[in-house]
């Protein structure tokens, strides 16, 4: 029998089973409201596992470790259970007990070899000169995040965007460490802590005045690192009048935004402030960030179903643009669409690239 730590057993036992956490759960909606796929089932089944009502199988283990990792479930719980925190805590506890699911083994190895759980598919700083070295004490350090290195054009756009809001922007460069965010959500808490510590040392060494992260998962989940997410930094510059938005031209201006799961709405507010932009209200379960990596790699067909569903909804709402806030998410979608940037008549654009054209 699996024995979870007491605080987890208590939180699992507190679940009243109301199902509110299923409302924002992307997998629940994408898989046609199938109970098994929702956040409530993950909590309830972990609870059943902890009191011996069901057995731990490899299938169950994979199931526990694979969701979109958006964390939206926590904000919907009426009795304040940190639903996502309990899921992540259970993953860690299972790993501590020696139950490592096959789906994360690959990531663990890659991280050991390259320092990043997706290190085998990226060349860090490919968009920078080969001999680039970040200067110390910069006004603004651009921490790009692992996935951005697969889409150099977005990295450049984000960098240029930041140049508009700050005099001196220094990219973190080719030695940029992984923040450990993805490792954290898949329950690898020791590896995550190691990564974060490495990043902390890296940042301390460069001692920039501020750090803006292209990865909103890192910025918003590890607030102790003192990083701002890209959209929040841009919103602040807009509010302070350092930059202005330019109006959208033409009549095809309907925007379907896929926001970052952990942002506080900055990207949506920025887009709404653009003259002539018609930002569509999207269902509460629409969001994406680096946390989706595991499902993207381990169950690509599920990721594809999620993407197709989103594109269908956007198309049914007559969207002209699908804008993806989170760079990691854009990279995955870009790969899944095999580099196509137009689907069903809609332009698929990353938030930094779109904004670069509409900010002066």
């Amino acid at each position: 029998m699996v024995e979870f730590p007491e605080h987890l057993i208590r939180e699992l036992g507190r679940c009243i089973g109301c199902g509110a956490c299923n409302i924002p759960c992307p997998m629940f909606h994408v898989e046609d409201l199938r109970e098994t796929e929702g956040a409530r089932a993950r909590i309830k089944l972990l609870s059943m596992l902890s009191n011996g009502k069901i057995e731990l199988t490899e299938e169950f283990l994979s199931y526990t470790f694979t969701c979109m990792n958006c964390g939206l479930c926590s904000s919907f719980c009426p009795v304040d259970i940190d639903v996502f925190g309990v899921i992540v805590g259970s993953r860690s506890a299972l790993i501590d007990m020696g139950y490592v699911p096959l789906v994360t083994v690959g990531m663990r190895d890659v991280r050991r070899k390259t320092g990043s759980p997706i290190g085998d598919r990226i060349t860090k700083g490919v968009w920078l000169p080969p001999d680039f070295q970040p200067e110390k004490g910069a006004d603004l350090l651009f921490f790009a995040g692992c996935w951005v290195h697969t889409v150099p054009e977005v990295a450049l756009a984000a960098n240029k965007l930041l140049q508009k809001i700050s005099g001196e922007v220094v990219p973190a460069g080719t030695n940029e460490p992984c923040c450990g965010g993805l490792l954290y959500v898949i329950g690898e808490k020791d590896s995550s802590e190691e990564s974060r510590e490495e990043l902390r040392r890296f940042l301390a060494d460069l001692s920039p005045k501020r750090v803006v992260s292209g990865c909103s998962l890192c910025a918003n989940m590890f607030t102790d690192l003192g990083m701002e997410d890209l959209a929040s930094a841009i919103e602040e510059a807009l509010e302070e009048g350092r930059i202005k938005t330019k109006s959208l031209k033409g009549k095809k201006n309907k925007i379907f935004l896929i926001p970052s799961c952990r942002s506080k709405g900055a990207s949506e507010r920025i887009l709404r402030s653009i003259k002539n932009a018609d930002v569509i209200e999207v269902p509460e379960w629409v969001c994406c960030d680096c946390g989706a990596t595991l499902i993207y790699q381990a169950e690509p067909e599920k990721f594809d179903r999620w993407l197709r569903r989103l594109l269908d909804i956007a198309s049914s709402m007559n969207a002209d643009y699908v804008i993806i806030e989170e760079i990691a998410c854009y990279s995955m979608i870009y790969e899944a669409l095999e580099g196509r940037n137009k689907v069903k008549g809609m332009k698929i654009v990353s938030f930094p690239s779109f904004l670069l054209d509409h900010i002066s």
């Binding site: 007491e6 057993i9 208590r10 699992l12 036992g13 507190r14 009243i16 089973g17 109301c18 199902g19 509110a20 299923n22 409302i23 046609d32 409201l33 199938r34 109970e35 098994t36 409530r40 089932a41 309830k44 089944l45 059943m48 009502k53 069901i54 199988t57 299938e59 169950f60 199931y63 919907f76 009426p78 009795v79 304040d80």
Partner: protein, 445 residues
């Protein structure tokens, strides 16, 4: 291990509906083994119909194999309504979530039974769904009708049955019947049998409803009672003077349990209607409360919405001590509310469990909310005993169980309500001779 006839029935259903609509894996079956009651029962199979023909096929096949069929909406039941406590096939109705027809002027809508409250609330700009028992809007129309759900706003709008004009039902034989007319129903009998029958007579596949308009004006008060009996006096006055009460809910022991001390009970009372009337009623209510020396003040409407719509009071109880909660829902004659509250208090102290009683004087609706430590097995057992004790005490007071939530596995027996059990059993025998429809709920066989 799944039961043999159930597996055969499931295989036949899969060949008709498609393999992806029949779930047989352990993981899936376990995910349909719970609701919000704390009870567990694993089905042999789960089927996911997408239209009424699918449901009819499923029920007919299950009947032929003599396998229980358990309809399920979102699984928010507090009484085990959608759980296969005698085994069988769970029918997940959530994919049947279409809006079939809607009229903005009259507020009439025809929806499939898997539509959720939160979706209903998006349909009209000036109308709403007053019955939202889980607070999040996750419950389905079918579940609400089957259990005849209530909410604090039932004071004004009645329970779910009062919003329903007609239903389409798949009977245990697989026959599909429409119990409705184009206009208002002239005879309630057949419809009345289905409403609140907890899925024991058939599966509701669609419903014809009327959503009420949002009132023009609203004002609300938060009231501190040092004696719960005063709330009944207030209710009598409000009734006698014809005030338009939207909701009136009292939380006994709330301050003690949640805040560590304070008045015996805190209450919310909302008046709604035309502005002039609401203003007049508000002054009068304030006058009455002052004359009774009852502390009160006008409440923010968003706070009151938190209580009515999001059920904040109930959830705040669960949040307060990091405990789990067990809710027992009952109805007593309003003049006996005080006795019911005392019985609940006594049970709480005897079982050493903190308890808050929520009651709605206009409805005589009483909910005992016990708090317990889910990691302490003995306390879990004591909570179950406390719930059973409250049920039997309520019945000896002349009350009934399951108001607003359904009876579910608590089942009504001959000695609780002989008339109902006799008539309902015979109807059940006639419509469902094999007792395949949601057995183990509502009444004993």
């Amino acid at each position: 291990m799944a039961e043999e006839p159930a597996v055969k029935a499931a295989e036949e259903i899969a060949s008709q509906l498609g393999e992806d609509r029949v779930l047989l894996e352990d993981l899936d079956r376990s995910a349909y083994s719970y609701d919000a009651s704390g009870i567990h029962a694993i089905p042999s199979a789960v089927v996911r119909p997408s239209d009424v023909e699918d449901v009819s096929f499923v029920v007919e096949a299950a009947n032929r194999y003599g396998v229980p069929v358990i309809p399920r909406g979102s699984g928010t039941s507090l009484v085990g309504g959608p759980l296969p406590i005698e085994g069988g096939i769970v029918v997940d109705m959530q994919m049947m979530n279409g809006v079939l027809d809607k009229d903005d002027y009259s507020g009439l809508i025809r929806v499939e039974s898997g539509v959720k409250v939160l979706e209903l609330n998006k349909l009209f700009p000036d109308r709403f769904m007053p019955i939202n028992p889980d607070g999040a809007g996750f419950s389905t129309v079918g579940g609400l009708i089957a259990e005849d759900a209530a909410s604090p706003l039932s004071a004004k709008y009645g329970t779910m049955k009062d919003l329903v004009i007609g239903v389409e039902v798949v009977l245990p034989s697989g026959e599909v019947v429409l119990v409705e007319q184009p206009g208002p129903p002239s005879k309630w009998n057949a419809l009345g049998l289905i409403l609140g029958s907890e899925g024991t007579l058939g599966i509701i596949t669609s419903a014809y409803l009327r959503l009420p308009p949002i009132p023009e004006s609203r004002r609300a008060f938060v009231i501190e009672f040092s004696d719960v009996s005063d709330s009944i006096t207030v209710q009598n006055t409000v009734e006698r003077e014809g005030m338009g009460v939207m909701g009136f809910e009292v939380y006994h022991n709330y301050r003690e349990v949640v805040e560590g001390g304070g008045t015996e009970a805190v209450a919310y009372l909302e008046l709604a209607g035309k502005e002039e009337c609401v203003d007049l009623w508000s002054s009068r209510l304030s006058e009455v409360l002052s004359s009774m020396e009852i502390q009160h003040e006008e409440a923010d409407l968003s706070d009151v919405d938190d209580i009515w719509v999001r059920r904040k009071g109930l959830y705040e109880i669960a949040r307060s001590r990091g405990s789990a909660i067990k809710v027992v829902s009952m109805r007593v004659h309003p003049h006996l509310v005080r006795d019911a509250v005392q019985e609940i208090d006594r049970t709480g102290s005897r079982m050493k469990l903190p308890v808050v009683t929520i009651f709605d004087p206009p409805l005589g609706w009483v909910m005992a909310v016990f708090l317990y430590d889910p990691t302490n097995e003995k306390e879990v057992e004591r909570t179950e005993k406390a719930a059973q004790n409250v049920i039997s005490r309520t019945i000896s007071l002349g009350g009934s169980v399951g108001f607003g939530t359904g009876v579910g596995i608590n089942r009504i027996s001959q000695d609780m309500d002989e008339g109902f059990v006799t008539i309902f059993s015979r109807v059940k025998e006639a419509l469902d001779p094999n007792w395949i429809m949601n057995p183990g709920k509502l009444i004993e066989r």
